[in-house]
């Protein structure tokens, strides 16, 4: 094993070791040691990732196996790593955000009795996510895929005595299982038709399979690639919360805020985006699949953003904005601009983690109050949180110069140039959503930090007994420092747009077919960061963003009496949005209720009535009637007698026949 290979192993194994130590021995080593060991393990992982990043930039990629997990038939299933430019970027994002969240957790979870358990879980998550992004094959991808789902389940239900939390985590796991079901079938088709699950081998053979068809329904042949890609994408839809499998993500906010930032905003939910980008050599072969991706992404971006407008829970606003932004990334994938999607994934990881952790900071200051209608005027008492969140808000709204501007603008451009069916709808969706995004984000900022305080500053929180009732105050440094560290890339990461998108950073790791020329066209029009910002001043997205901010200012600062009137006027629309289009109710009624109803009918009707009632007990009655004739045997266990006879016969045979 070379030095670099050892380093590759170190990246995921360090957090695993941290998780095991904090998880199994946390009771022994105590709280401080538990957070130190996990933080240190993530630091090791981050530093190693930086070293690998430099090595990869120097042109050293790696694709090899660690051990053979299983062989069956002629197939070997390996656990192995693919280290290329896409992987290493994800490794940096994951370890950096994870490190910030680890530090932040010291402050956020300070008073929680499950402190060690929490650190163990987030380190375990980091391990799982790294295994997912570093995989060189579909099986390990699926491993990581389900493992992050497991940790997400454990963390949403972290406060397991809360009924809402354990409802939300079960829902999250099951919805994700629906996606995984499709995903596994997609993997199965890959194995059945390619004979291997190794990325490199599959991607190399994919072009030969472009015209292969499969008859799922006899008589109607479909393109194999379309079927595979759509099945794989179903997995991405659940993990990356795309309509209609998004329903678990808003509820996941029941978990502690640090994991909302780490898992349900910055990293895990982007696994689907990463996966599709990784699979670009397959998706490029199916126009239909790309179309599906494009349309689903467009729907998610637009309709989830609309829900964010009516939310009053600060975390839920950010959650719906995550859904909408994931929709943007998906749209980029559908437009064959994978690198743009991944670029937005990166910038979004920074500013969304920032917004979530900022929201968490507010929540601590408000003593775990999350309702924005009971906040207001926090700007003075928590200036660091306010300014950092303000940067995050400018970034997500796409104000020129901030990270979100570059990535979002690139997505909108990519869709505009795209010729994949559905791109005109997607273009309309992403453009409209720019306005909505700016509006709900600044609605959050204004409702929380500006205006008059709407909370009771006197004595209401005394019963918490923490000795810090009364006026909210700024959070401790373990909370604010991660905010500042995340604000820096939220400002600056976008400036990397040139090298990342147009100068071939991703190189071989992303494949784009000749006919999908959106990205190439954009590269031609790109003349540097400053010209791009200047040019944007004359385009629709810029004015839509500014319009959104101004509208929010007008409604929530200038004329705060207006929103209730508007809400009353458009009662039906606001009800639909508040009920989230009724999808939760429908799923509970149709799927959960339906499954229970069928289960109960099969049990009571099939097992109890027909099989037992008619056949088994009928036979028993018949035998009972027969055995009354033989009552003198007094047999409770006829069978024993029968068997004793058989044994007797054998013994006799052994004794006599043999001799």
């Amino acid at each position: 094993m070379t030095e670099m290979q050892k380093l590759y192993l170190l990246v995921p194994l360090a957090p695993l070791a941290g998780a095991v130590i904090a998880g199994l021995f946390g009771w022994l080593i105590g709280r401080a040691a538990s957070h130190w060991v996990t933080i240190l393990s993530v630091v090791v992982s981050f530093v190693a990732s930086v070293a690998i990043f430099q090595d990869v930039l120097a042109g050293h990629t790696f694709n090899g196996s660690v051990y053979t997990w299983l062989t069956t038939g002629e197939t070997r299933f390996e656990i192995g790593f693919l280290i290329d430019r896409l992987t290493v970027m994800m490794m940096l994002v994951v370890t950096f955000v994870s490190l910030m969240v680890h530090i932040y957790t010291i402050g956020y979870m300070a008073e929680d009795p499950g402190y060690q358990r929490f650190f163990s879980y987030i380190s375990l998550f980091t391990f799982s996510m790294l295994m997912l992004v570093m995989s060189n094959n579909f099986v390990q991808l699926f491993f990581g895929w389900e493992a992050v789902g497991l940790v997400s389940y454990l963390l949403i239900g972290f406060w397991y005595t809360r009924p809402t939390a354990i409802y939300a985590n079960l829902k999250a796991f099951l919805v994700n299982r629906v996606g995984d079901f499709g995903f596994l079938l997609g993997i199965g088709l890959v194995l059945a038709h390619f004979g291997t699950l190794d990325y490199a081998a599959v991607f190399a053979r994919a072009p030969e399979m472009v015209n292969a068809t499969i008859e799922l329904i006899p008589g109607s042949p479909w393109l194999l690639m379309t079927v595979i890609c759509i099945l794989l994408f179903i997995g991405a839809m659940a993990k990356s919360a795309q309509f209609p499998l998004h329903v678990w993500l808003p509820d996941s906010m029941e978990g502690p805020t640090p994991i909302s930032a780490l898992i349900h905003a910055a990293t895990m939910v982007t696994a689907g985006i990463f996966m599709v980008a990784r699979m670009s050599p397959l998706f490029e072969l199916s126009e239909t699949a790309l179309s599906v991706v494009l349309v689903i992404g467009g729907i998610t971006a637009l309709f989830m953003a609309l829900i964010a407008i009516v939310q009053t829970d600060i975390k839920r606003v950010v959650a719906y904005s995550t859904l909408s932004q994931l929709g943007y990334m998906t749209v980029a994938l559908g437009a064959s601009a994978y690198s743009v999607g991944v670029f937005h994934l990166m910038t979004h990881a920074f500013f969304k983690a920032l917004l979530f952790l900022g929201a968490g900071s507010v929540i601590i200051a408000m003593h775990h109050e999350q309702d924005m209608t009971k906040m207001g005027g926090l700007k003075k008492s928590m200036p660091i949180t306010y300014w950092m969140m303000f940067i995050g808000a400018l970034a997500i709204s796409g104000v020129p110069g901030f990270a979100g501007f570059f990535s979002k603008d690139a997505i909108i451009e990519a869709v505009r140039f795209s010729n994949t069916p559905g791109s005109s709808f997607a273009y309309f969706a992403v453009l409209t959503t720019v306005f909505i995004t700016a509006f709900y984000t600044f609605r959050l900022v204004f409702m929380t930090f500006h205006g008059k305080p709407r909370f009771d500053t006197h004595g209401q929180h005394d019963n918490h007994g923490h000795g810090h009732g009364g006026m909210p105050h700024e959070s401790p440094w373990v909370v604010t420092v991660p905010l500042i560290l995340l604000a820096i890339p939220s400002l600056a990461a976008g400036w990397l747009i040139g090298p990342m998108l147009y100068e071939g950073y991703f190189g071989e790791s992303i494949v784009i077919a000749q006919e999908h020329h959106a990205l190439a066209q954009m590269a031609e029009e790109f003349h540097g960061v400053l010209p791009m910002m200047l040019h944007s001043l004359g385009t629709a997205p810029f004015w839509l963003a500014i319009g959104g901010i101004i509208t929010a200012w007008f409604l929530y600062i200038k004329r705060p009496e207006l929103p209730p009137i508007i809400k009353a006027k458009f009662g039906l629309i606001s009800t639909i949005l508040e009920r989230k289009y009724g999808l939760d109710e429908f799923n509970d009624w149709f799927f959960a209720g339906g499954a229970r109803l069928i289960g109960r009918s099969l049990w009571k009707g099939g097992d109890v009535a027909v099989i037992d009632g008619f056949f088994v007990n009928g036979t028993a009655r018949l035998i009972g009637w027969f055995s009354t004739l033989l009552r003198h045997l007094q047999s409770g266990y006829i069978y024993h007698y029968a068997f004793a006879m058989i044994i007797g016969v054998f013994v006799l045979m052994t004794l006599f026949v043999k001799g």
């Binding site: 051990y67 997990w69 299983l70 062989t71 069956t72 038939g73 099986v139 699926f142 491993f143 389900e146 493992a147 497991l150 454990l154 239900g157 397991y160 005595t161 009924p163 354990i166 409802y167 079960l170 796991f173 099951l174 299982r177 995984d180 079901f181 596994l184 079938l185 199965g188 088709l189 194995l191 059945a192 499969i214 799922l216 499954a595 229970r596 069928i598 289960g599 109960r600 099969l602 049990w603 099939g606 097992d607 099989i611 088994v616 036979t619 028993a620 035998i623 266990y637 006829i638 069978y639 024993h640 029968a642 068997f643 058989i646 044994i647 054998f650 045979m653 052994t654 026949v657 043999k658």
Partner: protein, 493 residues
């Protein structure tokens, strides 16, 4: 070091002899001695089974550790033992599970301790006999004999409704086993021998094969159990004491599937192909139908019993799709299910010993009072839901991969278990383990003892071990499975 020792005979007869010795300790005055003797017997049995794995030649497809000596020469019945890659792991599973069953019953069983322990030891030897027998009548004798200790375990130490449960089991089993005996005798009249390996080579017409296949089917389908002859299992589990449930789930259910692989497929290959659609249909019904039935159970043991049936559907599905993924997946699934279902029944036993209830509704918030137990329960629940990294995933994954090669929709229907399995298992976990403390009884629960920790810990290691690194287990199977598949691919007509 073990060369020359009749290892298979030892792993069969040492536990039985130990069982007889335990019986000899007599009444409950000597309960302590009975327990210690039983543990020693079980541990020695397990130790003796280990060389079967370590000395197993993975490159050889045929029978190993063969022992043969005449028994009833007139009918050419021999005492013929041997193992191949298909059977060897089940012998280890059996001797391992016996150790767990003895430890699990250590404190809980207070009446007729010697008889209880003896029943498990004797049953262990007899079950190993089934996996090792290469003579059809020897197989039959072990097959029938192992039921007696199980009947006694349910009948004496079982719950209030044990008579109904035994009667149901009896009705189901009797018919099937007798038909199997008839099939054996018919094969003897055709081939003049009771050697199973000779049966494999015996030329048979299609009609003969179909009839023999159906006779075996009656015996094995009940044991698996396959839909629709499964309804004895939930009742038997509910009435059985914890140890009984563990052995029933971990080992006895495997007998049926083993029978299909050892007897039905190679003796009647053409009938197996002809009837594979029928077998696959029943398997898929088991996976989907039973998965939904499990969802609405209110009794934890019934829920796990139904989940067992659903998981065993994967085993029969894998056995009848005739590729290496399927058959090896079926074998891995059998092993894994032995550990996972055994562990879940032990978990329910831990709760039952404290609260004397199996009803989900009587629980809630157990994690508050039993955090270590909750962690174990969570792990085994995840394994039961087929989470990658646990043994539960490996077999299901392999069978689904095998099925999709044959027909996409087989894999689709089987794959539904990814959703339903997680739904019924984790919904149970939610109601039992999570939430606020539900009532006073839960409030007074104590976390698991070191003895319980040991049992669950050993199973956790097994579940994670197979999940993370199944290669050493499947390596053992390859050549025997390939041999079986090439044999089944050749028509006897």
């Amino acid at each position: 070091m073990f060369a020359g020792l009749p290892l298979l005979s030892l792993v069969i007869w040492v536990p039985i002899a130990a069982g007889v010795a335990v019986l000899a300790t007599g009444g409950d005055r000597n309960a302590g001695l009975a327990r210690v003797l039983a543990l020693i017997g079980a541990l020695v049995g397990f130790a003796l089974s280990l060389p079967l794995y370590t000395q197993f030649d993975t490159l050889q497809a045929g029978m190993q550790f063969v022992e043969i000596s005449p028994w009833i020469e007139t009918f050419k019945i021999t005492y013929h033992l041997g193992v191949d890659g298909i059977s060897v792991l089940f012998i280890l599973l059996t001797s391992f599970t016996t150790v767990l069953a003895v430890i699990a019953g250590w404190k809980v069983i207070e009446k007729r301790v010697a008889q209880y322990m003896a029943a498990f030891l004797i049953m262990s030897g007899l079950m190993i006999g089934v996996f090792a027998a290469l003579d059809a009548l020897l197989f039959y004798v072990f097959w029938e004999a192992m039921l007696i200790p199980m009947f006694l375990i349910i009948g004496i130490w079982g719950g209030p409704n044990r008579v109904y449960a035994s009667l149901k089991f009896f009705l189901y089993t009797l018919l099937g086993s007798l038909l199997m005996l008839v099939a054996f005798i018919y094969l003897y009249t055709q081939g003049g021998t009771f050697e199973i390996l000779d049966f494999h080579r015996l030329p048979l017409t299609m009609t003969e094969q179909i009839l023999i296949f159906l006779a075996f089917f009656m015996a094995f389908a009940v044991k698996v159990p396959m839909w629709p002859v499964h309804t004895w299992l939930p009742d038997a589990h509910v009435e059985a004491p914890t140890g009984g449930s563990v052995v029933l789930a971990a080992i006895m259910l495997k007998m049926g599937a083993y029978g299909f692989l050892r007897l039905s497929l190679p003796i009647a290959p053409d009938a197996s192909h002809a009837l594979s659609g029928f077998m696959i249909t029943l398997s898929l019904i088991a996976v989907v139908y039973i998965g939904l039935v499990a969802l609405v159970q209110t009794d934890m043991k019934k829920l796990i019993a139904y989940s067992s049936i659903s998981h065993m559907g994967f085993v029969t599905l894998g056995s009848f799709i005739f590729n290496a993924y399927g058959v090896e997946g079926a074998l891995v699934q059998m092993l894994s299910h032995g550990f996972v279902a055994g562990a879940l029944f032990l978990c329910v036993g831990v709760l039952y010993d404290r609260m004397h209830s199996r009803m989900i509704a009587d629980y809630g918030g157990v994690a508050n009072k039993m955090p270590v137990f909750a962690a174990f329960f969570m792990l085994f629940a995840m394994a039961n839901s087929g989470l990658p990294g646990t043994s539960g995933f490996v077999g299901e994954f392999m069978v689904i991969m095998g099925a999709i090669k044959v027909n996409f929709w087989y894999a689709f229907l089987a794959g539904i278990t990814m959703i339903s399995g997680a739904a019924y298992t984790l919904w149970m976990v939610k109601r039992v383990v999570f939430g606020a403390v539900a009532n006073d009884h839960v409030e007074h629960l104590e976390d698991i003892s070191p003895r319980e920790f040991l049992v669950l810990g050993l199973l956790a290691v097994a579940v994670l071990g197979i999940g993370l690194y199944p290669q050493p287990f499947t390596e053992v199977m390859h050549h025997s499975v390939n041999n079986l598949l090439s044999h089944v691919a050749q028509s006897k007509l």
